[in-house]
């Protein structure tokens, strides 16, 4: 487990960066791939092991970084919503409703979507927690962060192997 401590550290950092708006605009979609890169780099530096990184190791580190980032960012998002009783979704609800009324969709679907959204807004503003919202956040975070973590791990493997080859 100690072997993967770097994924925990960088995953935590990425989770924080995904929540902080200013930081998010700086790194955008590169947050998770960078976290995966730094987890491999940290692991190499900590163990002073500069041997060739295998695709298996890169994938495991990328996966775990994405997983940790997903856990932390979901946790922070749910916690902040619980405390503030508002979030990005609440802010953008009038815009979403306006768009829904403008687009050519069936009236029954429109009503159904509107009903779900109203329920989510009610739960968040009254209790600070919505099961549907939390579920969608968790699913989205796990899906996207793990994919980007894996991609980051594979790219990092190539860069670090090349760098270590040049040094050796």
């Amino acid at each position: 487990m100690k072997k993967y401590i770097s994924t925990f550290v960088t995953g935590f950092g990425a989770g924080v960066f995904q929540i902080v708006p200013v930081a998010k605009s700086f790194a955008c979609c590169l947050i998770i791939p960078f976290a995966a890169y730094f987890s491999l780099l940290l692991q190499q530096k900590a163990n002073k092991d500069y041997s060739k990184i295998t695709i298996k190791k890169a994938s495991v580190f990328g996966f775990l970084t994405g997983l940790n980032a997903a856990i932390f960012s979901s946790l922070f998002e749910i916690l902040i919503t619980l405390i503030t009783k508002t979030n990005d979704l609440i802010v953008s609800i009038p815009e979403i409703n306006k768009m829904l009324s403008e687009f050519p969709i069936d009236e029954t679907i429109r009503k159904e979507v509107s009903k779900i959204l109203t329920g989510v807004v009610y739960d968040i503003t009254h209790y600070g927690f919505s099961l549907i919202y939390s579920f969608s956040i968790v699913v989205n975070n796990f899906f996207i962060n793990i994919i980007f973590g894996l991609i980051g791990g594979l790219i990092a493997m190539q860069i670090l192997n090349k760098k270590n080859n040049e040094i050796i």
Partner: protein, 156 residues
């Protein structure tokens, strides 16, 4: 690596990136096809994890905005372009150098930094260009990793 397996890898990567690009511009499709619009809030939520989605910095086609910013669109388009070219040139990555990656990454970060400190205004052209180049190189790294993995596996 058997060329058939290599082609399968290249087609798979190209298809996956193409689907991702389609999702970025899904609002345009949703505008044309009834009922698909209900997916937009979910897609927006999904892409919000990988992009700030500032509408003033997103690509607008026919009054419809892409679900990610111009720089991210450039990144994915660059990757798509590299995936497309790799369909015809199997070892496109052999021209890859770490210095290219570092220079392009530096270029992108400097642009983001200078815009954020107000040295100059946000420029869509610079944004998309920095994204395309970096996306192109990043894809080649990814493809090289997977290519070598399959190549070594077959040798074993």
């Amino acid at each position: 690596m058997k060329s058939q397996n290599s082609l399968f890898l290249r087609i798979t990567l190209f298809s996956m990136i193409s689907i991702w690009i389609i999702l970025i511009f899904f609002e345009i499709i949703a505008k044309a096809v009834n009922n698909l619009y209900v997916l937009i809030p979910f897609l927006k939520g999904m892409f919000s994890l990988v992009c700030h989605q500032d509408s003033s910095k997103s690509l607008a086609i026919c009054d419809v905005h892409s679900l990610v910013c111009i720089r991210c669109t450039g990144l994915y388009f660059g990757a798509w372009l590299a995936a497309f070219l790799s369909l015809f040139y199997e070892k496109l990555f052999k021209y890859l150098k770490r210095s290219y990656f570092m220079a392009l990454l530096g270029f992108m970060f400097l642009d983001v930094f200078f815009v954020n400190i107000g040295l100059y205004d946000y420029n869509s052209f610079i944004s998309i260009l920095s994204g395309i180049f970096l996306g192109f190189v990043c894809f080649l790294y990814l493809y090289k990793g997977l290519f070598e993995f399959y190549y070594n596996k077959e040798k074993e």
